[in-house]
């Protein structure tokens, strides 16, 4: 079960009007196309800093000692470094000396995959308690001259603590990938160059987010619907009995489209992307922490987490909030 949540955001809030100075765009265009009004952009903290703060908040929310954490998985596409991983850096920052730590790359679905992985390790008895983090500083991967992408993304981190539980708090997972369509959403890696490769001119490093927006939109709408349906089937919980769907939030139009097609009232999708932008792997745990602190979550409440993203990847998890508590405790 999830025994605690936490999050961390940059202080610096950048509005659509601020983008009008950088590229040829407008508040009206951004809002109608995406639903985003503002997003947080780092003024100096990197991914591991936000990850560590979110993790620390999750640990105190759960009331758990750092030495009781056996596993840290950080889902991210924007680590500080290839090695040490964000998860190892969080370990160092918080003194989680008993933990096994690794990062997980699965685009915006990263948190769902990390949750499934940690849950599986706990259920099978391999490890006891986990910190599962989604953390991104996408602002360092954005092409600030490309008006079609630079307005979409934000920085931040969210984290949950997963513990064993008498009654299951994690009910089912549905996941999938399709690498044959991966080209529609790219962030290139380090250029392939060495003294034995024919092209003597090292290519300009260009690790920026590039996407075929329309193909990604179609994929997202299809993948989100499929994941919602399948995780309901796998968990045995009817969609009507789920008060909140917590989606990865890339664009409000995706959520609207899915809500309309599945005839789900729009208010059941918790969204904050108007103030956060697309924070990739951080979006779901960040939203969950916001909901927790806002008092929206009640014991026994089913929640459906759903993500989709680069890879291509997609997935959903059905969870039950505080499964061992009753309304009175």
């Amino acid at each position: 079960m999830i025994s605690g949540t936490g999050s961390a955001l940059p202080e610096n809030r950048v509005t659509n009007r601020d983008f009008e100075r950088l590229v040829d765009t407008s508040d009206e265009w951004i809002t109608t196309r995406t639903g985003i009004s503002a997003r947080r952009i780092t003024s100096g903290e990197n991914t591991s800093d936000f990850a560590a703060r979110a993790a620390a908040n999750a640990l105190s929310s759960a009331g758990i000692d750092p030495l009781d954490i056996d596993l840290v998985i950080a889902a991210t596409v924007s680590p500080d470094s290839f090695t040490p991983t964000v998860s190892c850096q969080v370990q160092a920052a918080l003194g989680l000396s008993k933990a096994t730590c690794f990062d997980l790359w699965a685009g915006c679905t990263g948190f769902i995959f990390a949750l499934m992985t940690a849950d599986s390790l706990i259920r099978s008895g391999v490890l006891g308690r986990a910190l599962v983090i989604g953390a991104e500083v996408l602002s360092k991967l954005v092409d600030w001259t490309d008006r079609s992408t630079c307005v979409l993304f934000g920085d931040g981190a969210g984290a949950v603590v997963l513990s064993q539980s008498e009654r299951p708090g994690i009910l089912a997972h549905f996941t999938g990938s399709d690498g044959t369509r991966g080209g529609v959403l790219r962030i290139d890696g380090v250029p392939l160059v060495n003294p034995w490769i024919a092209d003597p001119q090292p290519p300009k490093p260009n690790s920026v987010i590039r996407m075929d927006g329309q193909e990604v939109f179609k994929f997202a709408v299809t993948a989100m619907q499929k994941s919602i349906r399948r995780v309901c089937e796998l968990s045995g919980i009817q969609l009507d009995d789920v008060p909140y769907i917590i989606p990865h939030q890339a664009n409000d139009r995706i959520i609207e489209s899915v809500a309309g097609r599945m005839k789900i009232p729009r208010g059941r999708f918790y969204t904050d992307l108007d103030q956060r932008g697309n924070t990739s792997a951080a979006s779901i745990p960040l939203a969950l922490d916001e909901m927790n602190r806002a008092g929206l979550l009640a014991p026994q409440m089913p929640l459906l987490l759903v993500g989709f993203g680069g890879g291509l990847t997609w997935g959903a998890s059905m969870i039950r909030w505080m499964p061992n508590s009753t309304q009175d405790s």
């Binding site: 109608t32 196309r33 927006g213 329309q214 193909e215 939109f217 179609k218 709408v221 664009n251 139009r253 489209s257």
Partner: protein, 81 residues
Amino acid sequence: MVFDQLKAIIVDQLDVAPEDVSPASSFADDLGADSLDMVELIMAIEEKMDVHIEQKQVGNLTTVGDVLAFLEAHRAAGVAE
């Protein structure tokens, strides 16, 4: 009638009045569709009319008439997916 079926899908997807939809109507200029509206519209047409529209052909479909011509050519060829 293909046009009536197409009109119903357009009215539903773009939230416009049926009387505003004619073969001459431009999606962007007359019906207020942005690029994401077009993606959703094409998805709905594909699903409801059992056709497949290649991504590269979508750029040529600027008016309702363009889509009608595509659908009629498709049916004449007897191709369905």
